[in-house]
Amino acid sequence: MNGPLLLTLIWVIPFVIALITLPLHNDDHLRIKQVSLWGNLVNLIFVISLTFKFIGDTAAAPLAVTDSLSRFQYTYKVVWFQILNIEYNIGVDAISVLMMLLTGIVIFCGVLASWNVKNQAKEFFVLLNVLVAGVYGVFVSIDLFTFFLFYEIAVLPMYLLIGLWGTGKKEYAAMKLTLMLVAGSAFILAGILALYFESGLNTFDLDQLSRVRFSDSFQYWVFPIIFFGFGVLGAIFPFHTWSPDGHASAPTAVSMLHAGVLMKLGGYGCLRVAMYLLPEGAQMWMTFFLVLVTINVFYGALGALRQTDLKYITAYSSVSHCGLVLFGFTAMTFTGLKGGVLQMISHGLMTALFFCLIGMIYGRTHTRTVSEMGGLMKVMPFLSVAFVVVGFAGLGLPSLSGFIAEANVFVGSFANPATINRVCTVLAVLSIVVTAVYVLRTVNGLVGGPVSDRFKELSDASLMEKVPVTILLFCLFGMGIMPGWIIDLVNSAVHPIYNNLMR
């Protein structure tokens, strides 16, 4: 299929699904879910074929290692807002393709995991699909304004999804999450407009802006604004506090999508917009951000240590693991950048599975407090084994995706000879011990020990539930055992970004 058309289809399909769902009858749950399921399956097939097409085309015309400009493929542009010259300008490089693949897998599994949503199912699935459309839109856009528009489309439905279908302090959590993210968006918008006016090119085109060399003083002021703006969504310290409350209150599929994909938009924006367009600014600010994200990594892990609620533990572990994404970026080395990208993918798969399993376990035990559980291995072996495996993925066990990403992050960050980088690397490596402690406390508390009477009658996963878990497990192992093709793809996209950063 024609590349640009494929890209457009991929973000339009979720909108279409939402539109098809709207006229359906409120109580026709089965049909509503089926529309989402089949629609997203079709879309996943499109994304997979895009990936294969992209691999083929990249192999046919490989990028030179010395290029310092990202080459976007399947580009297409048309102006949709004349006055400011805002374009519908799309195109992808390897990072966006991989992120779209991640999105496709996570949303498909997410729909399967929300099979039990009963309350206002129609609105739920409409909003979920709108959110997904926004996410896809972000990954295909290379016009910064369109990028920002899609970004907002992805962030805002979250308010309703958490506020209406969440649990616990859901209104508070939804409000907090939305306000903090919107504050981040304000920074991003300010940054984008600054780029637009400073360049004087009358364009939001990322590709054209990347050819401009902004003055050092401009970069000095704008870089932190954009980096923090996106960083909020990537849970950068100290703007991470929306994450524990938000994730704890969100329904399963929303947590999966949010931690799995949406938080990656933060890292993606930091790399694609802040670091790619303002490389000198990145050089000036990197030590500062390095220290902040090292705090993220260590502090998130220590935070998880004292939590008792499964979702809070996972949310804090996400703070720590998303910290590693930015930690890789702030290393300012080729391997570090690559490690950050790999960590986005790995963490996306892993945390999606974490929340998916927590949802399924909570649906049975009706508690998320670790100390109240125990012995689940006896009653639900499938879910328990999956939980153990994803736990090990979290602590970076080789043969699972986490190790591949973390190894790249650490090697990359150690390759930067500055003393502060070395010290931060040592701290970050030591955080894996803390990670091991909270993961094993949780895992052993959940699956080990004698099973209490209230759980004796519980059932293991149904076939419908086994499908998403199996898909995600397969991806975790696939990336962990045979990382070659993903790494080759990421390499092709990271080379120009790295060269540009070092220009």
Binding site: Y299, N444, G448
Partner: protein, 647 residues
């Protein structure tokens, strides 16, 4: 022909992996007998191909100048254009020796487990995990580079975790599995930092590059770090060695190994005595050329080995749980292996003019070899006894000699071997270790080794007499010897008795890379007599105190030694120190304040900002009516306006 066999040497690993995959994905609910047979057949095939490779290597590989064969080396993980980690199979004297040990013991333990695990509801799962372990352990020893070793290092860790916690309904087993993984993981974090350092300096993970003298030279510089000056070579060596420190459970990271005895006994036998725990020693031997360039690092290795050897032997004397005694004995023997590597560096005031004494290295590997068989046998024998008596406490046993004659005689051989009695295997390897210590001029270490030898003989025969001699001290029902379990024990007596014949081979061929000729240090004639004297007095003392199943000595010892006995019996309260550090300091002193800080200060300031904005925003309150459709309407109108303006 040789090339063909080497190229397909991955088959050694493939069979156990296949066994794991088949059982996990297809046969988890099959009949136990079928699964057991499959596991035995596949581990037999692995042994067959392992032996084929070993023999081929002995014929064609040992003659090569550096005595090594790189069967294959495929790119696996590409970090940057300059740095790639491979997956390969590297054969040299020590990896071939380990392949032999692992495949043989793996098959025997599989056979044994069919009897031991009979009727257990997790029978199939057990064989799957055992196969996973064999695969990981084989991958570890044949690694061609240090990152590959780290990968399999973690995989053996996780199989060990899963097998210690095999009976997951037992809280003590679950706790032990967690402890084992976390303690070793703690050490592995330092190992990883060490890997980062060497890979950064050399731009490679390959052992061949890391062990190059140039690497040691490049690392040999002083870092000034906030007033502290450290040698980078020493630091890196110790960081890498830290991994082995944890895996081989050296003091003070030994605490996980005794608890690991919560796992089924065949697991203790293969993982926690014969193979996995020697991985730390193996790593040290593998990195020996680099480590030995730093006198400080070798000194630490020697000290920690010797200390653990003595420390664990002292604790073993006071324990009553048969498996824990054996666990402390394993710790003690691992200490021997490690200090033997340490003494391969000649003392600064040694008068030999040489820097390296290759005998220390050979003796260490020799002891790895002999220990694997006799300790595996001791554990399997202990398993048979536990199976029969349904207790781990040696005070509940006694008088089993008549009831379990085959186990009795086999274990007698094993106890004599670990005690170091001529002509059994333990005599030769211990003698070589003590000789190396003496030759290199490390007199204190030599004395520690000699004394520990006596203690070893004492606590082993204490265990032996209390278990088998005298009259039964508890009611026994239907004690019998299961042929599945007796057969492997009897087979293991063969290497235990005959491994002494391999002394010449180990000293001449299993040497430090680059030292193809054994050195010509003196060999004092009194040494074997001294070692035998220590062993015999240990056995004699055990006979005096516990012979014929006497138990009153145990209580009188308690009375005489009083608080000292309590101190040793409680393992010097090291576990309690750890509990204090983790619970009071890390959880209570760091994590809890961080939780508070995050909720109150960080989040509080966010809430405060929100609150201030809310107060300030009262003016625009009219717009915020909380009606979703109002917001939606405003958004849509705005969008339309933008679109109209645009065109």
């Amino acid at each position: 022909m040789a090339d063909f066999i080497f190229t397909h040497s991955y088959l050694i690993l493939l069979f156990p992996l296949l066994s794991f995959a088949l059982i996990t994905f297809f046969m988890l609910h099959w009949q136990n007998r079928t699964v057991g047979k499959l596991a035995i057949v596949l581990s037999g095939l692995s042994l067959f191909y392992g032996l084929l490779t070993v023999v081929t290597y002995l014929i064609s590989g040992l003659g090569t100048p550096d005595r090594s064969v790189l069967c294959f080396d495929l790119a696996w993980l590409n970090f940057s254009p300059e740095l790639t980690a491979n997956m390969g199979i590297y054969l040299d004297p020590i990896s071939v020796m380990m392949v032999f040990v692992i495949t043989v013991i793996s098959l025997l333990v599989n056979i044994y487990s069919v009897g031991y695990m009979k009727g257990d509801s997790g029978f199939n799962r057990f064989f799957a995990l055992l196969a996973l372990f064999s695969f990981s352990m084989l991958g570890l020893v044949v690694s061609s580079n240090i990152l590959q070793m780290f990968v399999f290092w973690e995989l053996v860790g996780v199989s060990s975790y899963a097998l210690i916690g095999f009976w997951y309904e037992k809280p003590s087993a679950v706790a032990a599995s967690k402890k084992a993984f976390i303690v070793t993981r703690f050490a592995d974090a330092f190992f990883l930092i060490g890997i980062l350092t060497v890979s950064f300096v050399t731009g490679s993970f390959d052992f061949a590059t890391l062990n190059n003298p140039e690497t040691a030279a490049a690392l040999n510089k002083t870092l000034i770090f906030g007033g502290l000056s450290v040698n980078l070579l020493t630091l890196t060596s110790l960081l890498i060695f830290a991994g082995g420190w944890g895996k081989s459970a050296m003091f003070p990271l030994h605490i996980w190994l005794p608890d690991a005895m919560e796992g089924p006994t065949p697991v203790s036998s293969i993982i926690h005595s014969a193979t996995m725990v020697v991985a730390g020693v193996y790593l040290t031997a593998r990195m020996f050329p680099l480590f030995s360039a730093s006198a400080t690092a070798m000194g630490v290795i020697q000290f920690i080995g010797a200390f653990t050897a003595l420390f664990a032997a002292v604790i073993a004397i006071t324990q009553y749980d048969i498996k824990r005694i054996l666990a402390f004995s394993t710790l003690s023997q691992l200490g021997y292996m490690l200090f033997s590597l340490g003494v391969a560096k000649v003392a600064a005031d040694g008068h030999h003019g040489a820097d390296i004494n290759p005998l220390g290295y050979s003796a260490s590997m020799y002891h790895v070899f002999t220990h694997a068989f006799f300790k595996c046998m001791l554990f399997l024998g202990a398993g048979s006894v536990i199976h029969a008596v349904h207790s781990n406490n040696i005070m509940d046993m006694g008088g089993l000699k008549k009831l379990m004659p085959r186990t009795y005689w086999s274990l007698l051989v094993a106890c004599l071997a670990i005690g170091g009695l001529f002509p059994l295997s333990g005599f030769w390897s211990k003698d070589a270790i003590l000789l190396a210590a003496l030759q290199s001029g490390h007199k204190t270490t030599f004395l520690v080794g000699l004394v520990t030898g006596g203690l070893t003989a004492f606590y082993m025969f204490r265990l032996f007499f209390l278990t088998f001699h005298g009259e039964p001290r508890s009611e026994l029902h239907d004690v019998h010897e299961d042929p599945w379990m007796t057969l492997p024990i009897v087979i293991l007596t063969v290497p235990t008795v005959t491994a002494g014949l391999l002394e010449h081979f180990f000293i001449h061929y299993v040497t430090v890379p680059g030292f193809n000729e054994p050195s010509h240090f003196g060999h004092p004639g009194w040494l074997p007599w001294a070692a035998t004297g220590a062993a015999v007095s240990g056995i004699g003392l055990a006979w005096l105190l516990y012979g014929q199943g006497k138990t009153d000595a145990a209580s009188s010892l308690k009375k005489v030694a009083g608080p000292l006995h309590t101190l040793v019996y409680n393992k010097f309260y090291i576990d309690e120190v750890y509990l204090f550090v983790t619970h009071k300091i890390i959880f209570g002193g760091i994590a809890a304040p961080i939780k508070w800080f995050d909720r109150q200060i960080v989040d509080g300031s966010m809430n405060l900002t929100g609150w201030l904005l809310q107060k300030g925003g009262k003016g625009v309150r009219l717009l915020q009516n909380g009606q979703l459709h109002f917001y939606l309407g405003v958004t849509v109108i705005g969008l339309i306006v933008i679109l109209f303006l645009g065109k």
